[in-house]
Each structure stands twice: as C-alpha cells, then as structure tokens.
C-alpha cells in the first residue's frame, strides 16, 4: 500500500504537468469556438468533443496516405535536412507541396537491412518519392466532407477541402465557396476561414467589396489574440497582406500603408507588409 501511495505522487505530478501542457492547446483551439463555455464547463461535451476532433484528426492524416496510394511520408530529421542523405519527396502534379519530407520506408541505397528492407518494400506500399504523382483528388474529397461532419470545428478540413474541390475541377467553385461558408457558419470566430473566403471573392469571383468585408471580419476575429495554430496565424497575416494589396491596387496607397502598418504591429518581420508600409 505504501508503495502504491509513493507511486501516486510522481504519477500525480506527471498528470499535472500533462494537463498544464494540454490545457493551453485546448484553450487555443477553443478560442475560435463559440462553444467555448460548453467545452470548458461540461465534462461530457469536452470528452465527446475531443473524441470527435481525434477522429477528424485521424481522417486528416488519412488524406495524405490516400493521395499517396498508402505510401507513408514523414518529416526529415534535422540531420537528414542538413546532410541531405534522405531522398526529398517532391510532387510531379502540383497537388501537394512537400517540404523536407521523405518516405517512412527507406529506399534500397539507404537501407542497412538488406534482405529485410527488400521484403518490407515489397509487402508495404512503396515508391520513389522524388517527383511522384498523386492519386485522383476525387478519392480524397469525401474524407474532407466526412471529417467536417464528424467535427464541424475542424477548420483545416474546410480550408483544404475547398482547395481540393477546386483543384479537381474549376467548375466546382460554387461548391468550394459553399463549403467554406459552411465552415464559417460553424466557426464564426475563425480567422483563416474568413481570409480564405475573402481570397476566393477577390481572385475567383472578382468581387473586391465582398473580399474586403471578409478580410476585415478575419482581422476583427483576430484582434484580441495572437493565434499559435499555423492555419489561423497564417490566416491573420494573409488578411493584412490581402487588404494592403487590395488597397494598393485600388490606388489608395495611404490606406494600403495603414493596413500594412497595422499588420506589422502584429507580424513585425513580414517582408510583404514592410514593402507596403514604406
């Protein structure tokens, strides 16, 4: 019994550290939700919410696997990046951008296992990741629909899903916009979704008035906090950039400068904003 008691102390400490570590992530996620009070105050909603987001995350990971026909990619280690010993994955069809990624199963030249490596390359999906092609996008599209059904707060699902719809066929523009609008309806405090809607309005619909409305909404959503989530962070940065570009194109250089300066107060090192702020 004493041993159990002694074990409980370090376990409690570890659990405490884990909870502290996780809570910031959860809060970060919840900041873009209107459901924040439910997530915070009702244990059952919190548990079920995390279950849903875990499943959506699983489907998100699956999309990468599907587009590569089951071939698994991984980020390169720092050493691999430095020494360039692993084959860097690159896309031959512009569907996906690979930065410092390589295959999980190594190529023959780099595999120290010899016979065992050859067996693994035969029984598991494997190809040379340099300049590779992807499977048709239509095979992945249902997954984006599925993951956003499972977890309507999964913002990356809406962002990339809309991109994929458009990549599959340019005629899918209205579907892509409807998908993004659905995401914005479910996540009214998201930054990235409104920036993306603004970008679509500006580039694909040629509607600068509507685009400005969306960019302003994105900035308003991010006015009181600095997101750590890369999607939301990029969304905020891009909203400032797009507004500066938009105003510059309209010939309102003073307004463009003002938006760039606003942006620089949040992202002081951004070279695009610096250019417009001059």
């Amino acid at each position: 019994m004493r041993l159990v008691g002694l074990l409980l102390i370090p376990l409690g400490l570890i659990a405490g550290i884990a909870i502290r570590g996780a809570s910031s992530v959860l809060r970060e996620r919840a900041e873009t939700l209107d459901a924040i009070t439910l997530y915070d105050r009702q244990a059952m909603v919190s548990v079920m919410g995390e279950l849903r987001s875990s499943f959506a995350g699983y489907l998100w990971a699956k999309t990468d696997e599907y587009t590569h026909g089951g071939v698994l990619l991984r980020p390169m280690t720092e050493r691999e990046k430095r020494e360039r010993t692993a084959r860097a994955a690159s896309s031959a069809d512009e569907l996906a951008h690979h930065e410092d990624e390589t295959s999980v199963i190594p190529e023959r030249e780099r595999d120290p296992r010899g016979f065992w490596g050859e067996i693994e390359r035969q029984v598991k999906p494997f190809f040379d990741v340099r300049h590779h092609f992807h499977r048709p996008v239509r095979e992945v599209l249902p997954l984006y629909r599925f993951m956003t059904w499972v977890d309507p707060t999964f913002v990356p699902g809406y962002l990339v899903g809309a991109q994929m719809l458009l990549f599959e066929n340019k005629a899918n523009l209205s579907q892509a916009i409807t998908f993004l609008k659905e995401g914005a309806r479910n996540n009214p405090r998201s930054i990235a979704l409104f920036t993306e809607l603004g970008r679509y309005a500006l580039i694909y619909q040629g509607n600068p008035v509507q685009a400005e409305r969306y960019f302003r909404r994105a900035i308003a959503n991010g006015s009181r906090w600095m997101p750590q989530n890369p999607f939301e962070r990029d969304g905020l940065l891009n909203a400032y950039r797009w507004l500066a570009i938009l105003k510059h194109r309209e010939g309102r250089t003073e307004e463009a400068r003002r938006w760039a300066q606003h942006g620089l107060s949040r992202f002081s090192c951004d070279p695009v904003l610096r250019q417009f702020a001059r």
């Binding site: 296992r113 693994e120 598991k124 999906p125 095979e139 599209l141």
Partner: protein, 260 residues
C-alpha cells in the same frame, strides 16, 4: 508405445474445435461479423460513391485488429486452460510426449485462429462485393501471407504461455504483435541518427518479431499489383524458422516443467 504426432495433433485439433463450439467462442466471431455487416449496411444507406478506399481501409483494419486479438486470445489459453482444469494429467498419462502436446496445441490454435480469420476475411470480401467494391488478385496473396503470420503468432504465443501467466502472455503478445512495425522504425532511426552499425541492426532485426511483415492489407486497399512469389516464399521460410524456434524454446521449458 508412442502415438504418432499426426494422431495427437488431429485429436487435439478436434477437441479444440469442439471446445471452441462448447465455449461459444464462435459467437464472438459471429457477433463481430454481424457488426461488420451492420457497418456495411450503414454505408449502403449513405452511399459509398468516392468512399471506396475508405470503406476498404476500415474493413481491412477491422480484420487485421480482430484477427490478431482473436489469435492471441485463442493461442494464449491452450495450455493454461488444460493445466487449470487439470485435464492435462489424463492427457499426459497417455503415451504422448510433451513436444507432441505442444505441437498439437499450436496446430489447434492455428486451425481455430485461421478459420476465424478466413471467415472474417470472406465476410468482408462478400460485403465489399455487395457494395460494388471489387478486390484485385493481390487479395489472394494477402490471405496466404496473413495465414502464415497467424501460424507464426500462434507459435510465439503458445511458447510464451509456457513461460508466463496468461494475463502477462496476452499483454506481451499483443505488444509484440501490434508494436512490431515500430521496433524496425526505431532501429533504422538508431542507425541513421546514432550511427548504430548495419551489422548490429541486421542482427537485432533478425531477433525481433516481425508480425507487421505478414500484413499486405494496405496494398490490397490501394489496388497494388501482386508481389513476386519469392516474397511469400521468403516469408514462409521466416515463419517456419522463427515459429519453429519459438516452439523449440517452449518445449525446452515444458519438458522439464512440473505441472500443476
């Protein structure tokens, strides 16, 4: 007068199968199959257009997990159950060597787990066909390789059941079965990042279990072409050598073990 190993194996396999029916173990397989059918029905209601790969992926993931868990559970209880119910004493009072008993128990576990796997895979195949999702010829190779893997896993679990308690055996076997892919990854990272020698890697790789190499389900899911037959031959040799070694280690312990 010794009884031939074939007779022992046949009798033990028959008794094992009857025991499985008596213990209603088959119900587990039937319930799991029913769940698969219900899952497939849900897909039929919502439609599977565009979801073919996802449906296949889920089906093969389910088969893989269920067949592995069933195999471990079936193989882990073969010897301990006989000891616990004291039925091992009348068995060993007959002219049966302990090695024959161990081999017979392995065969019983292999037949039962193999039948369960084929039943699950057959049901999945039929359901996929019903949903209009045909499978490529590589499915045949998948079945064959997985059966080899089940035989190999049965040998590992039966051998471990001589050394460990049933609970410890099940836990360790499941870790070895599901974690086998990870061991290989860790070894490779140790080689690239920490400079562990290639010889050491190969030696360790040979010793560690490789249940993951018996699973070609991902190639079936993504409709890859069949693999060269030498791969299956090599894996068969590995299963024979490695599984034989496990059974030998089990026998070395069992032959001197005081039972009960």
């Amino acid at each position: 007068m010794r009884v031939s190993t074939w007779q022992v194996c046949r009798s033990l396999a028959m008794v094992g199968l009857l025991e499985t029916v008596r213990r209603k173990d088959l119900y587990v397989v039937l319930i799991l199959t029913m769940l698969m059918v219900l899952g497939a029905s849900a897909f039929r209601i919502f439609g599977v257009s565009g979801l073919e790969i996802f449906v296949k992926d889920v089906a093969f993931l389910t088969i893989g997990v269920l067949s592995t868990v069933l195999t471990v559970l079936i193989a882990a209880r073969q010897l301990p159950d006989e000891v616990q119910r004291r039925t091992i004493y009348p068995l060993l009072a007959r002219p049966i060597a302990r090695g024959q008993l161990l081999f017979g128990k392995w065969l019983t576990a292999f037949v039962m787990a193999g039948v369960s796997f084929v039943f699950l895979a057959g049901t999945a195949y039929a359901l996929l066909l019903l949903l209009g999702i045909p499978l490529k010829p590589i499915f045949g190779q998948y079945l064959l390789l997985k059966l080899l893997g089940i035989g190999w896993l049965c040998a590992l679990v039966v051998a471990l059941s001589v050394y460990l308690t049933p609970a410890a055996n099940i836990t360790l076997s499941l870790i070895l079965a599901f974690g086998s892919g990870l061991f290989g990854r860790l070894l490779l990272m140790a080689h690239w990042e920490r400079g562990v020698s290639a010889l050491g890697i190969n030696w360790l790789y040979g010793v560690l279990p490789h249940y993951d190499l018996f699973d070609m389900s991902q190639k079936v899911v993504y409709d890859w072409s069949p693999v060269p037959w030498w791969v299956l031959g090599a894996m068969g040799l590995y299963a024979l050598a490695s599984g034989g070694l496990y059974l030998l280690l089990g026998w070395l312990r069992l032959r001197k073990q005081v039972l009960g």
